[in-house]
C-alpha cells in the first residue's frame, strides 16, 4: 500500500510539475527543462497547496479534516489544470547503450529503496513530526494539544513552528490513504524524498555536463555513492535521506538546494523564487530568509562580480 501511494504521488507530482513549468515558462523555453525537472517542481507546487490549506485552517480555526479537504481540492484542481497544460513530448533517446555508471546508479538507488522499505532505524532526535501528525489525526485539530504529551499547551508554541506545513501535508496523506501516520512519515515520505533528490541531482547533472551523457550517469552514480558514504554523519545528505527523509531540513538539503543550484545555473528566476518560498513553508528560517535565499544571493553576487571584472578586463584589453 505504501509503495502504491508512492507511485501515485510521484505521478501526480510529475504531472503538476510539468504543468507549472509550462505556465511559468511557456512553450518557448520549455525545451530548457528536462523530464527530471517536473518532479521537484511538482513537489514545490504541492508544498504551496499544503501551506495554503494549513494556514487557512490554522488561522480560521478550522478542523484538521477541513484542512485535508482544502488541500485535496487545491491539489486536485492543480492536477487537472496541469493535465490540460501537459504536452506529451517524445523524449529523445540519446544514442548508445547505458554505461556502466548507469547500471551502478540503478543498483545503488535500488539498494537505498530496499534499505528504506526494509524498516531501517529512523532518527527522530530533535524532531516531533510523527507525534504532531498523530495528534492532528487524533484530535482533528491543528496544534490544539502539545504533540509530545497529548495534553493542552500551558504557554503555547512559537508561531514560526505553527506555520510550517509538513505535519499537515503528511497528516493529509495519512488521512486520504488510510495508512498509519508512522508508515507515511517513516517510509512513504523518505522514499519520495530519495526520488526527488535524484531528480534534483539529474537536473544539476544536465547543467554541469549538458553534452556528455556518460558524465551525467557517472555524476548520478557518484552522488548515490556519496549518499551511502554520508549515512554515518548527522547533517550529511546521506544521513538525512536514509534515516530522516521526512524532515524539512533534509528535504531542503537533498532536494531544494541541488535543484536550486541547477535553476541558478540556468537563470530561471521564477522557479528559483518558488524554491525559496517552499523552504520558508517547511523549515524554520530567519523570517523566511533561509539557505536557498542566501545561496541565491551569494551566487548572484559572485556572478555580478565576475561579470564586472570581465568587463573591466575587456576594457583594459581594448
Amino acid at each position: 500500500m505504501g509503495v502504491l501511494l508512492c507511485v501515485c504521488i510521484i505521478l501526480i507530482l510529475t504531472a503538476i510539475g510539468n504543468g507549472i513549468l509550462r505556465i511559468l515558462y511557456g512553450k518557448k523555453q520549455e525545451n530548457t527543462f528536462s523530464f527530471a525537472d517536473a518532479l521537484p517542481m511538482g513537489a514545490v507546487a504541492v508544498t504551496g497547496t499544503a501551506e495554503a490549506a494549513h494556514l487557512t485552517a490554522l488561522f480560521a480555526g478550522l478542523s484538521f479534516s477541513a484542512a485535508v479537504l482544502i488541500f485535496a481540492v487545491l491539489t486536485a484542481l492543480l492536477f487537472l489544470a496541469s493535465l490540460f497544460m501537459i504536452r506529451i513530448r517524445r523524449f529523445e533517446r540519446s544514442g548508445g547503450k547505458p554505461s556502466f555508471f548507469a547500471w551502478l546508479f540503478v543498483l545503488l538507488v535500488l539498494a537505498q529503496v530496499v534499505y528504506i522499505l526494509a524498516g531501517r532505524g529512523v532518527y527522530v532526535g530533535g524532531d516531533q513530526t510523527v507525534e504532531t501528525v498523530e495528534s492532528f489525526l487524533c484530535t482533528d485539530a491543528i496544534y490544539q494539544v502539545n504533540p509530545l504529551t497529548g495534553t493542552e499547551f500551558q504557554a503555547g508554541m512559537p508561531l514560526r513552528w505553527k506555520i510550517l506545513c509538513l505535519p499537515s501535508l503528511y497528516g493529509a496523506l495519512a488521512r486520504l490513504s488510510g495508512l498509519q501516520a508512522s508508515a507515511v512519515v517513516f517510509t512513504v515520505i523518505p522514499l519520495i524524498t530519495l526520488l526527488l533528490c535524484y531528480s534534483a541531482f539529474a537536473c544539476l547533472g544536465r547543467c554541469l555536463f549538458p553534452e556528455n551523457r556518460q558524465k551525467r550517469e557517472c555524476f548520478l552514480a557518484a552522488a548515490a555513492l556519496l549518499l551511502w558514504a554520508g549515512n554515518s554523519l548527522l547533517g550529511a545528505d546521506g544521513f538525512g535521506v536514509l534515516y530522516c527523509g521526512f524532515r524539512g531540513v533534509v528535504i531542503r538539503n537533498a532536494v531544494l538546494i541541488p535543484y536550486l543550484l541547477s535553476l541558478i545555473l540556468r537563470k530561471r528566476r521564477a522557479a528559483i523564487w518558488s524554491c525559496i518560498a517552499a523552504e520558508a513553508c517547511i523549515v524554520w528560517t530567519l523570517y523566511g530568509a533561509g539557505a536557498c535565499l542566501l545561496i541565491y544571493a551569494a551566487m548572484t553576487a559572485l556572478r555580478l562580480a565576475g561579470f564586472r571584472r570581465s568587463r573591466a578586463g575587456g576594457e583594459e584589453v581594448s
Binding site: 551502478l104 531501517r120 532505524g121 532518527y123 527522530v124 532526535g125 530533535g126 516531533q128 510523527v130 507525534e131 498523530e134 495528534s135 487524533c138 502539545n146 504533540p147 509530545l148 504529551t149 497529548g150 495534553t151 499547551f153 500551558q154 504557554a155 512559537p158 513552528w161 541531482f201 554541469l208 557517472c218 555524476f219 548520478l220 552514480a221 557518484a222 552522488a223 555513492l225 556519496l226 551511502w228 558514504a229 554520508g230 549515512n231 554515518s232 554523519l233 548527522l234 547533517g235 550529511a236 546521506g238 544521513f239 534515516y243 538539503n253 538546494i257 541541488p258 543550484l261 541558478i264 545555473l265 524554520w284 533561509g290 539557505a291 545561496i295 551566487m299 559572485l302 556572478r303 565576475g306
Partner: protein, 287 residues
Amino acid sequence: MTELIGNAWTGWLDFTSGTKLAALFLAALLYLWLRGRWKEQKTLYLYSAWMAFFCMLPLTAALLMLYQTRFYSYVWLWSLVPVTAVTAWAVTELCVGYLQELKPADRKKRLPAALLLLAVPILCGGIGKTDFEPAKEREERARAREILTEVRDSQGGELCLWAPREILQYAREFDGSIRLIYGRNMWDAALGAYTYDVYSDELRELYFWMENTDGTGQARMKDQERGEITLQGADCMEEAVEAGAECILLPDRLERQTAEELAQAADAECSRLAGYYLLTRRGKDVE
C-alpha cells in the same frame, strides 16, 4: 557571540572527526581547480569554495549560525555548502574525463581505475558507523510497540501513561490518544524549541526517579539548591497520580514487594507485563 564561536569550533571538530567527507570535498575543490574544470562553472565553484571557507572559519561560521537561527546546530551550517554536488562533479571529471584521456595502450585499466576511484567516497564515509544505532533503535521501537499494544488493549478508552524512557518515547508516535505526563522533550533538549511550556521540578524528579530508581524504590539525585536528596518511590507515585497518570509501567529492576507497595501508594493494581510492572489505577475501566 563568544558562545557561538565556541560552538562553531567544536562543531567543526565533530564534523570532521567522524568521516573524511569534508577532506574529500576539499580534495574535490583542489582537483577541479588544478585541472581547470572550475572555469566551466565558475559561479558554482567559487560559491562552494568561499562558503566552505566561511563555514570553517569560527567567526564567519558564528555569523552564519546567527543567520540560520540559533535553533540549528553547527552541523546544519554545511547545508549551505553543496558538498555532495561538488564532490560528485569532481569524481565524474576524474572517472570519465581524466580516464578517457588515457593512452590507447592504457585503456584496459580504465574500468578498474574507475571502480577504485568510486571506492574512495565509500572509504571516506563510515558505512555502518552512524551517530545513532539504527538496529538498536529498530528493536527498541518494535518492543515498545508490542508493550504499548498490550497496555492499550488492557485499558478501556484513553489513558495517561508514565513509563521508562525506552517505552515513553514511542508512545505518542504509536497512538496519538495516549497522553503522557512528560514527553521526549524531557531528555531531548532540542525539542524544547517547539513549545514555550516548561516542566516543573516535580516532573523532572519523576523522570529522574523512573530512570534511576534502585530495587528498593529509591533514587539519589543531586540538586543545586538542596544538595543530594533521596527520592522515595511512594512519594513519586503520589506525584505521578497528581500529575494525571492513570497507568504506570515500572522497570523490572524493582523488587516485587517494592512494586506492590508502590502500587498501593498509587491506589493501583499491580501485574506483570513483558519485563515491567504494570500499575493500573483503581477506578479506571479495565476490559
